[in-house]
Structure formats: C-alpha cells, structure tokens
C-alpha cells in the first residue's frame, strides 16, 4: 500500500512531523513502513512552458526547434525530439540548471547547431513509472491542461512535492488497505480526529430503481449489492489532482469514471465497478453462480472459462463480470458511455479468494474482497462515487440506491478485564489509560463491573477476541514499556539420551578429522534410492520446482559425494565430510514416510601428509573403517558389530562391506565404484552410511569398569596360510570361539600375499593375548589354552605355517 502524505493529510493532520518521524511512529505502532519515498527525487527548476511555435530542425529530421514561453519576457528556444510536441501545447520544461531524477542535470546546449535552453519532458523524466503514465502520453512528452500557467512550478502541479510511505501490510491489517484505514491508525497514534469526506450532491428526481432491476440469487456468496445509476455523464480525463493521487498510489489514470472508482477504492477500501448501462442492454443485474463451463471475455480481452462456484454479475442473460475479480469487455465504460451503473457490493471473501486464485488474477479489488471489506462502507462508497461523478463528470445521480442487503453489520463485542490485559502483558496499565487508548482507536467502549465492554468497529475485521484488545492496548502504549522478566518456576532441562548420543557421534567424527556437512533433503528421483540401506518406495513432491529437488532422499551419500566433487573441482587435496541427516523410506499408515536419522561420511584424497618426513598416505578403506570403528567403540558397541563383504550398485564390488549390528544390517562402508568416481570427477573415494537411530538405540547407557590386569599377559603368535578369499574376520571368530576363557584379545598383525606364497594363498598372522586377572598363568595353562585354539583352527582347515 502506497500512502501519499498529501492525500493522507485530507483526513488527518500530519504536518507536525517529518515523513521519517511519522514512518517510525507508524512502524513502532504496528504497520511496518518499508520505505519513505520522496516523490520529488531532488527535482528542481521544472516549470510549465507554452510552445508558441514549432519548426523542423534544419539538419535533423526527428528534431523540432520550439520557441517556448516559460513565464519570462523572452521566449526560450528548446530543441525537442518528441514525436507529439506541437505549437500551442502547455508542456513541462526543465530549465538550464534543473535537476531531474536519476541525477540528470540540464544545461544549455547546442543540438546539431541549434541552441537549446532546456528540455521538454515526459512524465517518465519526472520519475513517474512508465506503467502509471496515462496511455496517451506513454510514448512522448506530457501535454498539460490548457489552463496551466507558463512559469508555474511543475512539482506542485503533479503533486510531486510529496512523500509516499510504502506500507508492508501483514494479512490481518487489511483495514490499512485504504487511505481512511491508515488515517484512523495515524489519528490514534497522534491522538487526533479523522476528518471524513463530506458527501453531498443534488440527486435527480428520476429514481434509480426505475431504470435498473436487481436480483441476487445466492445470498451466501453475495450478501449485499448496491448500485447507483448516474445519467448524462461526460467521459473525459480526470482533473490533475485526481490523476496525481492515483499515480502516487500506484494506479494508472484512465478516464474520469474509472479513475473515480479507483479513487474510492483507495480512499475507503471498497472496490467498485462501473458498467455502461446501455451496453448492459437489459436494464437488469442478476448476480448468481456461474454454470459449469460458462465462458465470458474479461476486460483484458481474455476468454475465461467458469465453474459453478464462481460468482458472476449478469445482465439476466449472460455474465458481465466475475464478481470482485474483473469486469467484462461487453459492458465496459467507453468514451461514448452516457449512463453508468456503479456497483458497490460485499462478496464472500472465501469465494473471491478461490475464484481469483483459480483464474490467476489478483487485482486491487480481489485483494480487498478476499480479506473482507467493511460492511458499513459498502453504501458510503457508492454515495462517494456518485458525488464525484456528479462533480467531475457532470453526471445526474438518480434518486436512491438499487439494493439487496442481508449483510450482518453488527460489530463484534468483546468483554475483557483490565487485569487480563495487564496479566498477559506483565504490566500495570491503569483503566484510564486503557480507556484513553480505546477512545483514540475510536472503539466503542464501556467500563462496567470491572470489565471493558468493547464494540470493535467493523472496519477492523481483525479485532475479535480479548487477546486482540491486549495487542491494541500494548501497541498504542508502546512495546518499549513492557518490562522484562523470566518465566516463573524452575525445572531441570536436559538432552534426551538420543540427543546426547548424537552429539557424541558428532564429536567422534570431528575428532577423526571430518567436517560436518549439511546437504539438502530433496534430490532428483534418479538419486533418491541410490545407496539406500533399504528397498522402499520414495516420497515425491506434488509440484517440485525442479527435477533435481523433486524427491526425498533415502541415502546421504549422493549429496556428500557431490560435495566432495565440488571441493575436488576447487583443488582441495583432501575432502573429509560427514553428515547427520534424515532419510525417508516408504509409507506409514498415516501416509508419511518413515524418517530415519543417518550418519554418513565421504573421504577422498590425501590422509597422512607429512611430506618433508616422507610420510604420505591417501585415504583407503581402512581409514574410513577406523572412523566407523571409533563410533562403535565410543558407544560401547565394538563387540556387537561385524562386517561382511557385500555387493551394492554404484560401489566397488571388491571393496564393499555391509555393517551388521548384532547381525542386523545397519550400514555400509565402501569405495565408490570406479565408474561412479569417473562420473563424479573424483579419484579413489570412500563412503559410509549408518543408521544412527539403530546405533544409538543399542548404545550402552552404563559404563562398568573391568579389572585392569595386575598379572603378566602371555602373548602367542600364529601365522596361517589361507585361501585369499577367506576373510581374516572369520579366523578371528574361530579363535575367539575356540573355548578358552584365558584368551582375552586377538589381533591381526600381518597380512602377506606376495610371491613367496603359493598361487591363491595368503599368510595372515595373529597375535593372541592370554591372561587371568586374578593370578599369574603357568606355562602349562597357556599351552593348554593355545592348543585349544590350534585345534579349532586345524578343524576349520586353517594351516599353521
């Protein structure tokens, strides 16, 4: 909403404040002023000129040499390139030394040898947006009314010596979508009265109802419809003051009839529509719901297809307008119009909202109807338009109003106690102060029996409940006056076990040298199921903005790999990222997917890089695995986790492990498939993903210490010759299950697959630790225990070297 301070001052006196001071007060009291716009934009020295003569420039076809009277004794010669300049016109002249918007300075100049003392201007050159300039002057200079006086200041003539406040309205404050609505708020802030327009005109003796019949078929969609009939109007340009106000409000002037409806719309917030009475043809208006498939051509020359919930205004035979949204071409006011019907109505907000959304048409009218207009302004606005048509279009307003009115206009009654208001605010505002604020807001209020009985004015449709009164009192009293306190009562706060566990996991990842990444939950449908730990249906958006962000992901890996690729392309030596985020599987009974929080990592590039000491190592499978093991160790799950070779699409078939927690698959650890690496432009890259929910659910909550060995540990090594395909983990399991309690630890300490081994064989060496926490073991005991292990290995076919 654009509020011209000149226009606003018709209703409330704002002269005591600068525009910025006023803007600050309005903002602090509840309506945000987004911008304070100086319409003059620093313009000076722009005056009315009278083009006394025009001659073709001797050397340039498109230029004219004009002699212009600017209110001084001597005529000024000005060269003008506008196609529509002509002798006899009153025009806008920027004189030498003038400043125009955009920092343009006008100087005396010679144009192709001809002296030019200034410039004849278009409205655009005065800083008025092209879309607001009347169509007739959109392509050239602006021609002023013939009675304009040469030498007069043009700034004042166009009302450009004005400031406009641009309001950023929240949806509840539709009352401020009118000059009067803003005036009421400003008056309340400044403690002033609102001067309402005086509406008087002489009505003709002929009755409006004699010319126009009215029938409303659907009262729910259209509870009130008022029409004024005005005869013998003269369609022409509006006076400049009216055009100026409209341009200041961001509306393009058209002709006096349309301009008046727009003016009243801006003034009262009540949209009006003007029909050409003769072009209606039937002398009748019937409002009804459209028939399914009914069509009509709207003002913008588009054929609109209607449905049975769209309200239309008809002439009894066919649709002439889509109620509250747009008029029809057929009954549009033209230069030839003699009699107009002014429609002022209340249309059901939901109905207008739905229709305008469906048709894709949001107008100044529909924007107001869909928020609900003030029921008590419907008639007043119609009368205001009639008055202006009489004054500015020489119309004869017929007696009376053609009216159907079943609209409830009773104000909302709110009963609230001052204690409630103070209790909600934590303040001690006196009853007198509250009454004063409500009086300033022009709310009807009575204080009785310790409560305030308030009838909220119908123009403030947002005031419905006691809490709304709390807000009104507070915003007028000043939010700065609210004291500061903290909620009473103490209670302990804490993280849940899951939240604490998640932080621990983050710490492990970061301690291992990984940066936390955050990537998007939405991905392409092609990527959505890639690397997923489960095979489930995906969740897709109804109307995605792009295919790349159309589906919820089922794995964190694809976006992490994209991030790795992004960094590699920017010369990163090492990329080490982890992410904790949700993935989305299948569908529950409620229709929602199961959301599971996962932990994932990506590693590529150098890992150890102490190059001057000759120590260098790139990331490999076991670097990644060490990090995963650290997570399990930190959560006390080491002995519950096993790794098994697996094959997953997009991962290296020889370097992929699925991770099992107590035998359940909860994750994957792998090198990306070389083809995948190539496609993503990365070198050897390792990824892992774990179901964080599953891990943290299993995590040990208690830590109980086990005895630190006080007696010597006996170590025995075993080297085995194995088939290459036999996993070391399997042998460790055999050793662990060999049945000796004295064995406390088994570690692989060497793996050899070189030329000294037979084809298809490898040597793996294990180090075994035996001890008893209570005593020193004898050699015999260790030998006995170790023999059990050797026996188990022999039974499994593992050959000791």
């Amino acid at each position: 909403m654009l509020v011209s301070l000149k226009w606003l001052s018709q209703y409330v006196d704002v002269d005591s404040l600068t525009a910025n001071e006023l803007a600050e007060k309005i903002t602090r009291a509840g309506i945000e002023v987004d911008a304070v716009i100086d319409r003059s934009q620093g313009m000076t020295n722009v005056v009315v000129g009278h083009v006394v003569s025009k001659e073709k420039h001797p050397e340039a076809d498109k230029l004219n040499v004009c002699q212009v009277d600017v209110g001084e004794e001597e005529l000024q010669q000005i060269v003008c390139g506008a196609p529509n300049v002509d002798a006899g016109q009153k025009v806008i002249v920027a004189r030498p030394g003038a400043k125009l918007p955009g920092g343009i300075k006008i100087k005396k100049a010679k144009l192709r040898g001809q002296e030019s003392n200034g410039m004849i201007c278009s409205l655009q050159e005065l800083g008025i947006e092209g879309r607001l300039v009347p169509k007739a002057y959109a392509e050239g200079i602006y021609v002023l009314p013939a009675d304009s006086v040469p030498g007069a200041d043009v700034l004042a003539l166009f009302g450009l010596d004005d400031t406009v406040l641009e309001l950023g309205l929240t949806p509840n404050r539709s009352d401020a979508m009118s000059m009067l609505g803003v005036a009421y708020d400003v008056a309340a802030i400044l403690g002033q009265d609102v001067k309402l327009p005086e509406i008087t005109y002489a009505a003709a003796s002929e009755k409006a109802t004699d010319l126009l019949k009215l029938r409303v078929e659907n009262i729910e969609a259209n509870p009130m419809y008022a029409a004024k009939v005005v005869k013998n109007i003269e369609v022409k340009d509006s006076p400049l003051w009216l055009q100026n106000y409209l341009m200041a409000a961001g509306v393009r002037p058209l002709n006096n009839v349309v301009d008046i409806t727009n003016y009243v719309l801006m003034e009262y917030g009540q949209p009006l529509h003007a029909f050409d009475y003769d072009r209606l043809e039937t002398g009748e208006i019937v409002t009804r719901l459209a028939k399914d498939g009914e069509t009509m051509t709207t003002l913008d020359d588009q054929e609109r297809k209607l449905a049975s919930h769209n309200l239309v205004i008809t002439n009894g035979l066919e649709a002439e307008a889509i109620a509250g949204v747009m008029g029809g071409e057929k009954s549009e006011v033209t230069d030839a119009t003699k009699t107009v019907v002014i429609e002022s109505a209340y249309f059901n907000p939901g109905s207008v909202r739905r229709t305008s959304k469906e048709i894709g048409l949001r107008s100044d009218s529909s924007a107001r109807f869909e928020k609900g207009v003030d029921p008590n302004r419907v008639l007043v606005a119609a009368e205001r338009a009639a008055q202006l048509l009489a004054e500015l279009a020489n119309g004869e307003v017929l007696e009376g109003t053609v009216l159907v009115d079943e609209l409830d206009k009773t104000p909302v009654r709110i009963v609230v106690s001052p204690d409630f208001i103070n209790g909600r605010l934590g303040m001690k505002i006196s009853l007198e102060e509250m009454l004063d604020i409500l009086a300033r807001l022009k709310f009807d209020v009575e204080a009785a029996n310790g409560v305030l009985v308030i009838d909220a004015p119908t123009r403030r449709g947002d005031i419905k409940i006691p809490e709304d009164i709390v807000e009104e009192i507070a915003r007028m009293y000043g939010y700065d006056e609210i004291p500061m306190s903290l909620p009473a009562g103490d209670q302990p706060g804490k993280l849940t076990a899951y939240q604490a566990g998640r932080r621990i996991v983050r710490n492990v990842m970061e301690g291992a040298g990984l940066y936390q990444a955050v990537t998007y939950s939405l991905t392409s449908s092609a990527n959505a199921q890639k690397f997923a730990l489960k095979e489930e249906t995906t969740t897709k958006l109804l109307m995605p903005m792009s295919e790349d962000r159309s589906t919820l992901r089922q794995s964190l890996i694809p976006h992490l790999v994209e991030s790795a690729s992004y960094n590699v392309a920017r010369q990163a030596d090492t990329v080490a990222l982890y992410e904790v985020g949700s993935v989305f599987f299948g569908q529950t009974a409620e229709g929602t997917p199961v959301e599971e929080e996962h932990l994932a990592l990506v590693l590529t590039g150098k890992w150890i890089d102490n190059s001057w000491q000759g120590e260098k190592k790139n990331v490999d499978f076991f670097v990644a695995k060490g990090m995963i093991e650290a997570v399990f160790a930190k959560l006390g799950l080491t002995n519950h986790v096993t790794y098994a070779k697996a094959v997953v699409d997009g991962l290296h078939p020889g370097r992929t492990a699925e991770i099992l927690l107590d035998g359940e698959k909860i994750g994957v650890l792998a090198q990306l498939h070389p083809q995948e690496q190539k496609a993503m432009d990365v070198k050897e890259t390792y990824v892992a993903e774990l179901n964080l929910h599953a891990i943290l659910k299993a995590a040990k909550e208690e830590l109980i210490y086990s005895v630190v060995p006080r007696f010597p540990v006996m170590t025995r090594d075993i080297a085995l010759e194995l088939d290459r395909a036999v996993p070391a983990g399997e042998i460790v399991a055999i050793i662990n299950n060999a049945g000796t309690k004295l064995l406390k630890d088994v570690k692989v300490f060497d793996v050899y697959e070189g030329e000294k081994m037979a084809e298809g064989k490898k040597s793996v060496a294990f180090s075994l630790k035996y001890f008893d926490p209570e005593r020193t073991l004898t050699d015999e005991e260790v030998v006995a225990a170790h023999n059990k292990v050797l026996k188990a290995l022999a039974e499994a076919g593992a050959e000791v070297r």
Binding site: D480, M484, K494, R570, L577
Partner: protein
C-alpha cells in the same frame, strides 16, 4: 723405592691427562692399576722391606693409588660428558619445521548456532523437542490456527506431497505435537530443525533452511517473560551490550505477535551497512500463543498462557559471522567449513 713411586705417580697422571677418549683412559687404567700393573708389582715387592718401613710404604702406595684412581674417575666423568654433548649435538633438529599433521574437523556453522541456542535454553530448564520433516497439513497449519483457505497461508509457499502431506514450513508443528502429547502439562521446549519453503535458491533465499523455535506454556506466562527471555538470547548470541526492541506484527498462531530487533552488533546502534543505517537488525518473530492454538491442543486458554518464538539459524549465523550468501551453508566448501574450527570461549 719412594722415589720410584713418585715417578710412577707422575707418569700415570700425565698419561691420564693425555688420554683423549674413554678407550685410551681404560688402557691407562689397565696398564697401571691392573693386576699386572707396576703399582701391583710395587705392593708385591713390599715383602722385601723391613718391618718399620713396610707400613709407611704401604700407606704411601695406597695414597698414590687413591690419587690416581680419583684422577682417573674425574677424567672418565669429563670424557663421558663430552661424549654425551657430542651425541646431542649430532641429534639436533630444525624446530621450525612443521609438526606432524593432526586432522581436526568441526561442526557446521549452523549446528554451532543451533547447539549454542540449545545449550542456553537447556540451562534455563528447557527440553529439546524434534519432529518429522514430512508433516501433516494439520500440524503444520490447521493446529496453528491456519485452517485451509486462510489468507495467511500465502505467507509461506509450501512444498506439498499430497493434499494432506507437506514438507514442514516451520518447526511449529513440533510445538503442536508436543502440546497434544503433554495433555495440558506445562511446557518449556526448544525445537530446532530443517524446514522448507518454495523459494528459488539465491544469495538470501534457500528452499531448505534451519529454524529454532521456542515454546513456553504455563500459568500466568506474560509478554514480559517473552521479552526477558529474548533479551537473554540476544545477549548470548550477539554480546552482553545488545538490547532488543519489539515491534507489533502478525502471525496466525500468536496474539499479540511481535517482530524483534536487536541493536546492531557491528556499529553498536549508530547505524552502518549491516543494520541499513537504522541501528537495529530484525532477528526473529514471536508472540503470545493464540488461544485457538491452545484450545486445539486441549489446553484451557483461560487457565494457561504461553509464548513462542522462531529464529532462523542461517540469519543468526550470517549476522554473527558476517556471511554474505546463504548458499555457503549448503555447498559445503571445505574452505568455508574449516573456518569454524575456532572455539568462541
């Protein structure tokens, strides 16, 4: 014999002095003090002496032997020290060479902001509540006083999955779910999480972002409690000298509703480019929980009241760390992420 002894002593002492290393010194020891050395010979020859001379001579030989031994040990110590010094000299390194790399990762700046706020509120007795990213229209809108067709739904462009399912546009549905679950009990929660709006990604918009909301419900919760709580938050995030101010605003789920500005941390309120010359920066929206929201969740709005607030983690991080483009948070450029190593104590 006495003269012979003195001469021998001189000879040994000279040899000790001349010995350049431990090996030479050991040779001297073996040559003179060993079982076959001259001093031993002298002692053996004492049998030929008279009874009076024997003890005198014995004492003399012992003195000489002790002196020589002492001198020898002193020289050994000297040489050993020199040897250690020489070895240490050999072992010296260039201490200015870089240390072996220890990789340190760190939290994402958004998590850093979220955890800082979580910790602040946990310290004030709040719990952390979380909820799903895919929400029912009911919890995201209807339970928050935003029935279908409500004009204020236009304030938030929504990604719908079906007519009833959507990607949550704020973490308020977690509040609605918590209220429903707590069945009338008092509540103090903070709700961090990812949220989604149908916005094209650019320097200031992101279709996914991180929000942190707070909710307190209890008897006699007042707007002053909201203001005091937000003051604590602003001071924690932007410095102890910060002040806040409230401006009236509108959210369907709160009444009254406010927008909250914090005095500019860059210029201290004088006006600069960060605060657009106003001295204030808008950081969050808040308000008193709308009675309809309380009633829908089964609370008696006559008996309890509450406040709620919502803050964008990106906005806080951008202001706090001076980040100029919201997309930095989602491209995961390690040159960006690694800057958040440093702890703020």
């Amino acid at each position: 014999m006495e003269q012979q002894l003195t001469q021998l002593e001189q000879e040994v002492l000279t040899k000790i002095a001349e010995a350049a290393d431990l090996k030479a010194l050991n040779e001297v020891r073996v040559a003179y003090l060993g079982k076959k050395g001259p001093i031993t010979d002298l002692l053996k020859g004492m049998g030929k002496l008279s009874a009076e001379e024997r003890p005198k001579m014995g004492a003399l030989v012992n003195t000489v032997r002790e002196n020589v031994t002492a001198q020898l040990e002193q020289k050994v110590a000297l040489l050993e020290e020199a040897a250690i010094l020489a070895q240490l000299e050999n072992e010296s390194i260039d201490v200015t060479l870089p240390g072996a790399q220890v990789r340190i990762g760190n939290r994402h700046p958004l998590t850093r902001v979220v955890e800082e706020i979580e910790d602040l509120f946990v310290g004030m007795g709040y719990e952390i509540a979380e909820g799903p990213e895919v929400e029912r229209d009911y919890y995201n809108f209807e339970a928050l006083n935003l029935p279908k067709g409500h004009p204020a739904r236009d304030m938030q462009d929504t990604f719908y999955i079906t007519e009833e399912l959507l990607l949550r546009t704020h973490t308020s549905p977690v509040q609605a779910r918590t209220m429903e679950a707590k069945k009338g009990e008092h509540i103090r929660i903070i709700c961090p999480g990812k949220v989604f709006r149908r916005d094209a990604d650019d320097a200031t918009h992101s279709h996914q972002f991180m929000q942190i909301e707070g909710l307190v419900i209890g008897e006699n919760i007042r707007m002053s409690d909201l203001k005091g709580t937000l003051d604590v938050l602003a001071k924690k995030m932007f410095g102890a000298e910060r002040e806040i101010r409230l401006r009236p605003s509108f959210f369907p789920f709160t009444e009254p509703s406010v927008e909250v500005d914090v005095s500019c941390h860059k210029c201290g309120g004088e006006g600069c480019n960060v605060c657009k010359k106003t001295g204030w920066i808008e950081i969050l929206g808040a308000g008193m929980v709308h009675p309809n929201v309380l009633e829908m969740a089964g609370y008696d709005s006559k008996k309890v009241s509450g406040f709620a607030f919502g803050i964008g983690a990106e906005r806080i991080a951008m202001l706090k760390y001076g980040v100029d483009d919201i997309r930095h948070f989602y491209t995961n450029d390690t040159r960006f992420l690694s800057q958040f190593h440093q702890a703020e104590v």
